[in-house]
């Protein structure tokens, strides 16, 4: 098989009710793979890159075509295996087994470095799967909006009495996920200054209504921020620049008493020193071409710039500004570059998200395979009906419906947990069955979820019992989802924090309206968040142990 990585083809998922595959169970992964590469969804679809640096949906275009052909032909008792984005086998299983099993970017630990990965990737032997890129459940920036919103809102509660009016957030990176930051800040009531070095990314975010304005120099951006915060308005500006230049300059201005951000974070793709972080003093064009011609020089320069960048974040932290790592591993790089206090400020998970994980709450999401936004409107309404007491959820659904432009197949994200997820799944399946929805929906989640990831610099940072690095848990999660009958299951290494730093698993399940799907949904959407509660109960979190008891989980060695 040849290995074409660049191709001018535009991919759109089929919509409507006509099947291209033999059943909805295989039509679903087909549409979702294609949706990941939809021009409105993927960051660089012609190179199969969905988001997060080089996170791909398929290894190369031949592999993409091979997966599509295999899915179209797959029977209801067969399972397709995908190895780092390439279809490698079709095997007889049974109807209650997953239709697709995926393993992306996994390397034996001693060899789990960017250097070794990049060599294999270049040879055509591997692919970077990120979290939801290679597992076909990325739904555009919306997928991350609520998580970012929850984080900012929780920071507001912890540090500013729950009111971010007149406050502003400093960050960088407006890529596939980072682009959600300005909108999430505004949802949370704050203004936002986001530094981004690639003007096309700023423009894209303005076009898709995630960002309000653009600035070409710092003074201009700060002037806007000053105006908005004074007026108590929540608005956002993207500043064209390099974060490694701008952050230290802002520290100088803060120390001179001129300005003071209220929250500081960052979402450059620092997890990938070769493709993810523009070195200081380099042009974007130079950077892109040197990634091919002189990768070592790129990495060296990028890592040095990250150290400067993190040093500035530490300075904000030391000045008392709530500062958080947003899961891109930038502290680790700075530490390796010799910045000893790189981990002075916390990651967002231990700071704000873990209490949710303890109850199995995380980025639950679903997507309408019909392509009809009306189907999502109806599921939004169903969610409100199912959970009448959850006013937080209602507010989110209203803001999302009003402000979030769908990208590709219409989708919705809601952070809900154990005890709620299977209810939503069964309700949606009923809506498919009785024709309320035009076509089946798929339900999935990010790999960043309560039971699905081991990532000591992010999701499992500072676990109570010190078990941050134990990756038995995500592996058990993947095995159990396979045993429970998810429609596709994936096991990835790397993801948002890069090679060597995490292992995680994904699952997606299709509601085709059948009674079989009812049984699977009830199992999978219960068991999957339950493994998160189990993992946190084992680590000693009382919230998780209480949640497990409340829901009657059977956790023999734990409770």
């Amino acid at each position: 098989m040849s290995q074409t990585r660049r191709n001018a083809r535009d991919i759109y998922p089929p919509t409507g009710t006509t099947l291209n595959a033999k059943s909805w169970m295989t039509e679903a992964p087909l549409r979702m793979l294609m949706n990941n590469l939809h021009p409105d969804v993927a960051e660089n679809p012609h190179e199969l890159v969905v988001y997060g640096g080089i996170g791909r949906a398929a290894r190369n275009w031949e592999a993409f075509d091979g997966i599509v052909a295999a899915l179209k032909d797959l029977n209801e008792d067969e399972t397709l295996l995908v190895q780092s984005g390439k279809p490698v086998g079709v095997f007889r299983t049974h109807a209650d087994a997953p239709r697709v099993l995926i393993a992306n970017s996994n390397l034996v630990p001693h060899w789990a470095t960017w250097e070794h990965f990049n060599a294999l990737d270049k040879q055509g032997l591997m692919m970077y799967g990120q979290m939801t890129a290679g597992s076909w459940i990325y739904i555009g920036t919306q997928g991350i909006v609520q998580g970012t919103y929850e984080t900012f809102a929780e920071a507001g509660r912890q540090h500013y009495g729950g009111d971010l009016t007149g406050k502003w957030i400093l960050t960088a990176g407006l890529g596939g996920m980072g682009g959600a930051q300005p909108l999430a800040a505004v949802f949370a009531g704050a203004s936002c200054l986001a530094v981004e070095c690639d003007e096309t990314r700023i423009d894209f975010r303005i076009r898709t209504r995630y960002l309000d304005e653009k600035a070409h120099d710092l003074d201009e951006a700060l002037e806007k921020i000053a105006r908005w915060t004074a007026a108590g308005e929540a608005k956002s500006v993207g500043l064209l620049g390099n974060a490694a230049d701008i952050f230290p300059e802002l520290v100088r201005r803060m120390e001179a008493g001129e300005i003071r951000p209220d929250i500081v974070t960052d979402q450059t793709s620092a997890h990938d020193p070769l493709h993810g972080y523009l070195p200081q003093g380099w042009s974007v064009a130079d950077w892109r071409s040197k990634q091919e011609s002189d990768p070592k020089a790129v990495e060296r320069a990028a890592r040095a710039s990250m150290k400067t960048h993190v040093a500035a974040m530490v300075a904000f932290h030391e000045a008392g500004v709530p500062t958080l790592d947003y899961g891109n591993n930038i502290r680790q790089v700075a530490l390796e570059e010799g910045l000893e206090n790189a981990f002075a400020f916390p990651g967002f998970v231990p700071a704000y998200i873990r209490p949710l994980f303890c109850r199995g709450i995380g980025p639950f999401r679903w997507c309408a395979l019909s392509g009809d936004p009306e189907d999502i409107r109806k599921t939004d309404a169903k969610m409100k009906e199912l959970f009448p007491q959850n006013t937080h959820l209602h507010r989110w659904l209203d803001m999302a419906a009003e402000r979030i432009a769908f990208q590709g197949l219409p989708a919705r994200i809601c952070w809900i947990g154990l005890g709620d997820r299977h209810k939503a799944g069964l309700a949606f399946n009923e809506m498919v069955r009785n024709g309320e929805l035009k076509a089946p929906v798929v339900i999935g989640r990010d790999h960043l979820d309560s039971g699905s990831v081991a990532s000591p610099n992010r999701e499992t940072e500072a676990m109570k019992d010190g078990s941050d690095a134990v990756s038995d848990w995500p592996l058990l999660n993947a095995l159990l989802n396979t045993a429970s009958g998810a429609t596709w299951v994936s096991l990835h290494h790397g993801g948002g924090v890069g090679m060597g730093f995490s292992q995680h698993s994904g699952m997606v399940i299709c509601c085709d309206g059948s009674a079989d799907a009812d049984r699977r949904l009830e199992r999978v959407l219960w068991n999957d968040p339950a493994t998160g509660v189990m993992r946190h109960a084992d680590a000693g979190y009382d919230i998780a142990a209480d949640c497990a008891r409340e829901h009657g989980l059977n956790l023999p060695g734990i409770l």
Copy 2:
């Protein structure tokens, strides 16, 4: 839960036809867990150590009791999760799903070191699962005899025209697996000098008929070897001593023209520098106590001794003696200690085993849950009947029946591959159904198998396409076995080559005589070896591609 690691209890698996659990599907893992700890099977059962240094069947005695209780209570639509030897959850799945899912010793790559593991192990958060210890399909030393026999026989074919009469093999280590070496050498027609530092291990091997004689000094041992080889007799001697002393001394004697071994290898537990290798000049008692009181000193001294040991092996290799690493990672340690040409001699897999893996051939095994040796006699006969042309197999079965003493539940190992395994499984299930066998049997395999492991210093050393470290393959294998309906499935890290150096998966399936079991056996025992053929076809081995075509495998991106 408290964490008792030492306990004087003796564990024996139940035998006969009375169920202790609710069905044979849960009785099977119950008996096999207990069988792993049978006093005749486990190396150190009172500390739950089965083999391979610290490879355990359960994390501690409370966890053992918890697993037993959970298995006794488990229903046919439930699945027990085991995390590093501890029962952590019981979840609703379905009859065609595995009854137990196991993940042992897995760490996020950047933290996948002995240091980090040992710290977690000490805290009671982890357990070392080795390959078949934590996955409950170790069957005593027999399990390794045939693999070792095949390796020595193949070395004989490649280097000595297929005739090892009058030849002798030098090795070290007579532990759980290494203890198979003298018998395998004798089966292959050669004499054997095995250096072992722990006299109890030598005595144990003599008692169980794996070893013929014992010597307390080198001259005495060499005198026996000289006598046997001169007489064309194949016999074995265990020499009490430290390999790091004896091997260099033998190099000196070889260089002085006094002696010359015909094959050199080693099976000390070098993969575990803290527990597995006695440093030069230390007593065994000293070594054991310092493992607790001064682990750093033990590791330092052991690693230095391994370097000396490997340097001697390199000298044999350079003198033209066929020398091989037997998968204990000793070359890697020597390399790290500064022995630059540590990898001068090959591992046994690329040298002798890979052509078998290309056809899905590997250490297939089964075990009679009745406890009755007669059941194994009948299955041996059935194997001969099923495969009348395979004279190699017939010879092995005859030698095994004559010379191999069962340890614990009667069991048999046979290296067979794709196309044969499912036939054996269906035939055994039929024998259970029609009452020819007294009780159900389980069928499993080592994690060292064709599709189940990524281990660049052993099973996947020097792969044709350079994909040695890609661990997507064993993960897919575990997911597919789960989807196909194996009775229990495991995912381990570490194993025989130690922390950071391998990832692998296991599967065991129970033949309870039912029609449901027929369907599962046909799928699992086809798919499992097929993933090995797939993995080797993808790496570019013609034998594997031919085998895939011959068996009509559907490998979309590969063939």
